[in-house]
């Protein structure tokens, strides 16, 4: 599975182009300054002062959120503490556990290692976005059927990783499933049931596709 690749400046694998575009959208909307040194150099504006906010537009689960953020705020912090989308969990805030996994343009990423300004302009999907109203998505359904969790704290992240896997690989092998959730730690050790749930979800989707 693809996890954010981090370069030496701490950026995720989002392309520079999409990043600059997203910031530019924000700048147009609220005439705010640009955010990261690289981007600032390209446009000649000065980086924001401590605590200064910049405007971003975030596309989360199909809704548009226009908001001001501090450049240092992570996507995880914005989702949880600013928007109250608590299904995205917080296990480490340092890219180790995967509890904060979300889809960004369909690819699973750690939201704690993604700055909100970087995610602007991308399609962000959280566990809330995998549901149809109150109805569970196929992966969630499979997780219940196979009892693929214990405490449940790593679970939303696992669900998102399995979702990302199945979107790319609808009929994964056992090794592909292992690989697909290998960026998500589960201290309760529910892995075996998570593998079963991924297989079950693949079946459910196959039936769904007809």
């Amino acid at each position: 599975m693809e996890k954010p690749t981090i370069d030496s400046q701490g950026h995720t694998g989002l392309s520079r182009r999409s990043f600059v575009n997203s910031v530019a959208t924000g700048a147009a909307a609220e005439a705010a300054v640009l955010t990261l040194p690289g981007a600032a150099a390209q446009t000649g504006t000065k980086p924001p002062q401590d605590g200064e906010m910049v405007a971003v537009v975030l596309q989360i689960n199909g809704r548009t959120h226009s908001m001001n953020v501090e450049p240092r705020w992570t996507l995880q912090y914005v989702l949880r503490d600013r928007l109250g989308l608590m299904a995205t969990k917080d296990g480490c805030e340092r890219g180790e556990c995967g509890a904060c996994t979300v889809l960004i343009d369909g690819i699973s990423r750690y939201s704690c290692l993604t700055l909100a300004v970087e995610a602007a302009g991308c399609q962000i999907t959280t566990v809330e976005g995998l549901m149809n109203g109150e109805q569970l998505g196929t992966v969630q359904q499979a997780f219940i059927e196979e009892d693929a969790f214990q405490c449940g704290y790593c679970t939303p992240g696992q669900v998102v990783s399995v979702e990302a896997l199945l979107r790319k690989t609808p009929e994964p092998t056992f090794e592909q499933i292992r690989e697909g959730v290998s960026g998500n730690l589960c201290r309760c050790g529910a892995y075996n049931h998570i593998f079963r749930a991924a297989q079950r979800a693949a079946e459910l989707r196959k039936v769904g596709r007809g």
Binding site: G51, E70, R72, W73, Y77, R80, D81, G84, M86, A87, T88, K89, D90, G91, C92, E93, R94, E96, C97, A99, T126, V127, E128, M131, L136, Q140, F143, I144, E145, D147, F149, Q150, C151, G152, Y153, C154, T155, P156, V159, F174, I177, R178, E179, V181, S182, N184, L185, C186, R187, C188, G189, A190, Y191, N192, H193, I194, F195
Partner: protein, 736 residues
């Protein structure tokens, strides 16, 4: 049976304490001592107080922060002065609390923490138990680094036993210090309403937290409400009140606003417990026919900077029949975070030593390791006056497990030419302590036939709520989807002790059953009055009252008294059980490993866990828990280890990149659970004995034995890391 709270957990609607956000809430952060041993000379918070968003700063200079912490060994609750306090200037381990801040945002709180200037006097430290016990080591606590006198347990005469043996072996085994690392970090959200304190806290049972918090803040129990209906993993590390809860409460009072204070991942590695490292010297004697004649264990445990003893000897004294036993245990203070209970405290360590020793003995006398264990089964508790066990499933775990694992055949299969070689191993075990009752449970049946179960127990992810609801369903015939469970809230559920020691189902399920039975008997009394027949002739089944003769039926909606009072309540209190028998779960784990003799990699490819934990209430959650326990044991065996830097005494791997825990890629592809149910009617009224801890007890030892079978090299120090494997394989080559 899928869990009744599955929807909440997979949809993200379950509100864990870390997810609680209150209006006007502040975020707290703690400044911790960066040194292994230091005295705080001065704390300058002037700059922090002026920073944007900061609303409260708390240090040892605040009179309300003078709260004692860590009691002297054996003096808990005696009123004798504590060993330390909330922000004690004498910091005995890296990560001790020095000051705290509450601010509008977490970023502001951390900015302010970083702006606090602290002057430390750095002191000499000791970070290794053997060094700590040597003369001249820096004292971690006054009076030296040995906690009290060694604890000794004795029966028979070990010297006589060794003399009678045909084979005597002696070996020193070591286990490392392991960290719980629950995925939800430790922390609380606190709110004051006048003199009432409400705390959303992630713990293993809110009642002891409520009591400790009320004690620390000198408040009546009735004014402290602790809510922990969901929690993200504990494994023993969330049985205790954390300083963070008290600090949050004091800052919330200062700022007159709610405060959320959760630890960062790094802090959880330093300050909220661990499984202490142990050195276990074990000597064992056996006759040629496999009869054990003597066992002698000398254990030293690495306690950390404050008293928290973990004993490892129990299984040596109780698992196998042995007339001559001597166990001596010591705990040593070092300058590092104190230990806490960690899934089956002491037991996996003991298994690591005892079960590898059994393996070595079997080899020496040319006996199959399964047969050697079968030869030495005891049906009485040798550690408790030879009282009989209510049931002893060890024999069945071993023999049926061996059959299901295909032990004999797997054992004789070729090991491979390399670089990958394979082997299989076995280890037995038992869980030796059961936290007891009391527990109070309320079951309420509504006029429409739906039911409410009100219990204090937390659900750690073990499926407790589901299992308890199943008991109500079983007794009252109410469908599962019409049962609502309220739990783990001191404000509106009933007292029970914490979930720890695999006691929840064992202790609380009989209380649930009794409460449901009380509801039933009240219903029958009402029906008897209405139908004018003796209650003894009536039965309640599937939502209807039936007369014994089968001719008279009464639906709940026609039961006049119930419709008038709208609900029937059954209350059950389970008091301490006095019994002349002993309840013990038993277990045997089998493992198959592959070892790469070129790279030192170890892969566990297959496991089977045979468990006698009494009746299996819910196979789905049971299996999950057993696998989870085995995997935690796999972590202990092959990767987990706290590393303290010898130069600075600081933890070198306080994060999940450097401290490895098992991931999806480390778990065996083939995992099997074999429940052994001997229909124990004496352990309690539900026939259950507890599964949480037994699930992890022998797994590490089974892996170590499989490693030996594969390579012919005995690894006595956990974890079995590739570098250790390569060193030992190379040594064997040179020695020939």
């Amino acid at each position: 049976m899928p869990r009744i709270d599955g929807y909440e957990r997979v949809s993200g609607t379950a509100v864990f304490p870390l997810d609680v956000i209150l209006p006007n809430m502040l975020y707290g952060a703690i400044l911790r001592c960066p040194h292994a041993h230091a005295t705080v000379k001065a704390v300058d918070t002037a700059k922090a107080r002026e920073m944007p968003g900061v609303h409260a700063v708390l240090t040892d200079a605040d009179p309300e922060a003078q709260i004692g912490w860590f009691s002297r060994p054996g003096s808990a609750g005696s009123g004798s002065p504590a060993l330390s306090r909330l922000f004690d200037p004498h910091c005995r381990f890296e990560g001790e609390e020095v000051a705290a801040v509450a601010a509008d945002s977490p970023q502001q709180a951390w900015d302010a923490v970083r702006a606090i200037r602290v002057e430390y006097e750095v002191l000499p430290f000791v970070s290794d138990m053997e060094a700590a016990l040597k003369p001249g080591a820096p004292d971690v606590q006054e009076g030296g680094n040995r906690m009290g006198n060694p604890r000794e347990t004795k029966r028979g005469d070990v010297e006589k036993g060794f003399a009678e043996a045909d084979v005597v072996l002696e070996e020193t085994y070591r286990t490392s210090c392991d960290i719980h690392t629950c995925v939800e970090a430790h922390g609380s959200v606190v709110q004051w309403d006048g003199d009432r304190l409400t705390v959303w806290d992630t713990n293993q049972g809110p009642f002891p937290i409520q009591a400790a918090l009320a004690g620390a803040l000198r408040m009546p129990l009735s004014k402290v409400r602790v809510i922990s209906s969901y929690m993200g993993g504990g494994f023993g590390s969330k049985l205790n009140l954390g300083k963070y809860s008290v600090i949050a409460a004091l800052m919330a009072r200062k700022a007159a606003r709610p405060v959320k204070l959760f630890l960062t991942r790094e802090e959880t590695f330093l300050a909220v417990g661990n499984r202490p490292a142990h050195i276990m010297k074990l000597k064992a004697g056996v006759k040629k026919d496999g009869t054990l004649t003597a066992l002698q264990l000398t254990g030293v445990g690495e306690m950390g900077a404050y008293p928290a003893a973990t004993a490892v000897g129990y299984q040596v004294g109780d698992l196998y029949k042995c007339p001559n036993v001597r166990i001596e245990e010591t705990m040593a203070y070092i300058n590092a975070g104190p230990n806490r209970a960690f899934r089956a405290p002491g037991f996996p360590q003991c298994s690591w030593a005892l079960e590898q020793m059994m393996d070595a003995l079997a080899e020496k006398i040319g006996m199959d390791p399964v047969d050697l264990r079968l030869k030495n089964i005891s049906t009485v508790c040798q550690m408790d006056n030879n009282k009989p066990y209510t049931s002893t499933g060890l024999r069945e775990c071993l023999s049926e497990g061996a059959r299901a694992f295909n032990w004999k055949e797997s054992r004789s299969r070729p090991k491979g030419e390399g670089p990958w070689v394979r082997g299989v191993g076995v280890a037995g075990g038992m869980w030796g302590s059961q936290n007891g009752p009391p527990a109070t449970v309320i079951v309420k049946l509504y006029a429409d036939g739906s039911a409410n179960l009100n219990m204090g127990a937390a659900d750690l992810g073990t499926g407790t709520k589901t299992v308890m609801a199943m008991i109500v369903a079983e007794e009252l015939g109410v469908p599962m989807d019409r049962i609502q469970v309220e739990n783990a809230d001191t404000g509106n559920t009933q007292f029970t002790s914490q979930s720890g020691g695999s006691k929840t189902v064992y202790v609380d399920s009989p209380a649930v059953r009794a409460a449901a039975l009380e509801v039933k008997s009240s219903l029958l009394d009402m029906a008897a009055a209405q139908l004018k027949v003796p209650a003894a002739d009536l039965n309640f089944k599937d939502g209807e009252i039936l007369a014994e003769t089968g001719t008279q039926r009464l639906a709940l909606r026609d039961l006049r008294q119930l419709q008038m009072q709208q609900a029937v309540v059954g209350v059950a209190v389970r008091g301490p059980v006095q019994s002349d028998k002993v309840v013990r779960p038993f277990v045997t784990h089998f493992a198959e490993v592959e070892v790469n003799t070129r790279t030192g990699e170890v892969r566990v490819v297959r496991m089977l866990a045979a468990h006698d934990s009494g009746r299996v209430m819910n196979l789905l959650t049971y299996r999950n828990q057993v696998f989870g326990g085995f995997i935690m044991g796999l972590g202990l065996a092959t990767m987990e280890r706290r590393i303290l830097d010898p130069v600075t005494g600081k933890m070198a791997n306080a994060n999940w990149h450097d401290y490895k825990i098992p991931t999806a890629k480390d778990v065996p592809a083939q995992m099997t659970v074999l429940p052994i149910d001997l229909h124990d009617t004496e352990c309690n009224t539900t026939g259950t004995k507890g599964i949480g801890e037994p699930a992890m007890i022998p797994s590490a030892a089974a892996i170590a034995n499989a490693f030996y079978h594969a390579t012919g090299v005995r690894i006595t120090a956990a974890p079995i890391t590739p570098s250790q494997v390569l060193t030992l394989l190379a040594e064997r080559k040179t020695k020939g």
